[in-house]
Amino acid sequence: MIAMTPVLSRGYTFWDRALFPRDEFEERTRFVQRNLKSDQLAGVIIWSQGYHTNGDLAFLSGNPTGGALLVTEEGEPSLFVSGGGREQYFLRMQTWIEDMHSTGGGLGKSIAESLKSRNVQGGTLGIVGFDLMSAAAKAELAASLSGFSLIDYEPRYQQSRTAKRPREVLAVKASLDIAREAVSAGEEVFANGGTNAQALVESERIARRLGARDFRALANLEGTQLRPFERITRSPIAPLILWVAVDHYGYWAEAVNRSACRSAASRAVNAMIACARPGTEAGAVARAGLAELPTSAQSGALSYGLGSGCGLSLEETPSIEPGSKAKLVEGALLTLRACVMEKADAAFCTAMVQVRAAETIRL
């Protein structure tokens, strides 16, 4: 779902070694290294923007900020972070990666030196995050690695981590608990006479207190559609529709206040859950949900989105949309939602589920 992107992921930041011990990251790394070998790649470079770490980077590094990760067939990964090194003291407490570099002189140059030190001198390198880099960053990377063939490895890499590991499911459940507490707190403020904006702010306060690293929210603050918080509003608008997404330890979950989940929106989500099985096309799931919505509400619901994969990013593959041929994978986490914002009826329902062979279960 699309919400206002804050300038910085700035909440609770702490490497929970009980939930994500070092061996968890080592095992993930071995898994990627096995793929590199079978895909005949010399290595993979995973890039993320600085202020909002994307899931691709965090999956292997656990790093709470952006940068780039180099993984080769053997050895431990290397992490490259921007700046002149001021932040390294803190970052070293947040990640298991010991080989950390500052890239003041250019990312590509730093990676080239690291490859040389690993005696990796040619071949094909997979790139994850190519589309997100600036054109200048990509050019610098390509120039510095001119002895290598660079390919877009993002689809393959993301596909390989669609099914969630047990500890990832635990993390998403922790995020979901926070998200639910947050919307409940907002709902209580509203029930006691607060405005929709006050409800949203209270939900953010609770989420951050409980450990949200990042927080997104939309509510029916003004007008007829959902909006991000931009200013104080004076009058409550009933019924309250408050949607929040919480990132805790990098893992996202979302929730909507209970009173908003009703009527056709609720039926649509239930229909999608019933349809979601390993091997089912995402498009079929979307169509099952749409069939429960009034025709007049379908276009709006599609624009808000019917859901997607979820985990280290708020929106992972597959996207739940009618034309999608992507097949659901056993073990994948999905967020399924239906938003109806018609003048006569406003409702929003969401569910976080795990696709399992016997049945898809709600988290």
Partner: protein, 386 residues
Amino acid sequence: MNTEFVSSDPLRIKCYQQRLAATRQRMKQDGIELLVAYGNGRHSFVGTNPAWWLSGFKQMGPHMAVLVTLDAEPFVVITPRWDEERASERSVFRQLAACDPQDFADTMKGVIAKRGLGRARMSVAGGLQMPRAIAEGWREILGSAAGDADLIFTELARPRDEWSLKCTRAAVAIAEQGYEHLLATARPGMYEHVVAAELETYLRGLGAEDNFQLLSASQHNRSVHMPTNRILEDGDVLLGEITPAVEGEYIQICRTAVFGEPTELQRAKFALLDSALRAGMAAAKPGVPVADVVQAINRPISAAGYAKYTVPPYMRTRGHSMSLGSMDPEIATSCQSVFEKNSVFVMHPNQYLPDTGYFMCGEPVIITDAGAQPLTSRMGELGSII
């Protein structure tokens, strides 16, 4: 609704009209017939958003573009489709199309074709962090190669207009109130991230739509960072980089406070950084090279025996803009530009000192003929939380 910041504010409308007129003037000078001001929705305050600066609309979706010609009403394309209502209220331009992100390219092509702009001389301003995928996609969307118009917005947005300053001053007031609230509520025994959460949402309640906030503490800080589960205790030095935004205008104060009474050593070292800040502010006049002001800031610190600490990793920069409009000036020795009247930025000799650890000491300032003037009602002091 906060009545000071309604979309129909005459000052807002006047200033956005002036921005459009100034943009068209530059287009004429540069021989541009169609300018596409693009925003990628990241709202990085080191990334610029030309579409926001021209239209007054802060997008949620991954794509937004304002198409400006020399005479016709500008046309806005926003994502996602369901955000059209808000865009129609907030954008100063009435001609608007809303589409979902996957339809952005086709919508742009349709708008250009319908308006007969396919053969116009085009330029794109996409901000410093425009993703490669869209940067390389413009040729296909526009039907021909486009020039780079980023410099137009960097230069036009640098001196702040009245609307920008009104929003900026409102954000400064929120930041100052927030810091007072922080001093009043932070107590030993609280978790670092809970203190940050309470400050964050207090700012939100005052009307801050966003906030670049780093808040952390230590007995001897190495730098400021995101809040952790540290339990705050007497003797900890709390660092706060507080950057609320109003109407897309971010403004930053950098503050340091001690749990308990500061030591004489802490007072002396904070005074040193404060003197460096004031030296920089006095030197920062229109026409003065930015690099000279960096030297003015570093001089007292070096004279006190800390020359080796005036470079990374002990500090990052002596200041920077934080607008979504112009990123100039970055207060660094590598900066080639000179100060311009009415430009706004944070000046901050934040840095590590071996005796006391990292201290933060920074003010939002505006460049005047008399030097950089603080936008705050009271410049930062070494705080005490008792």
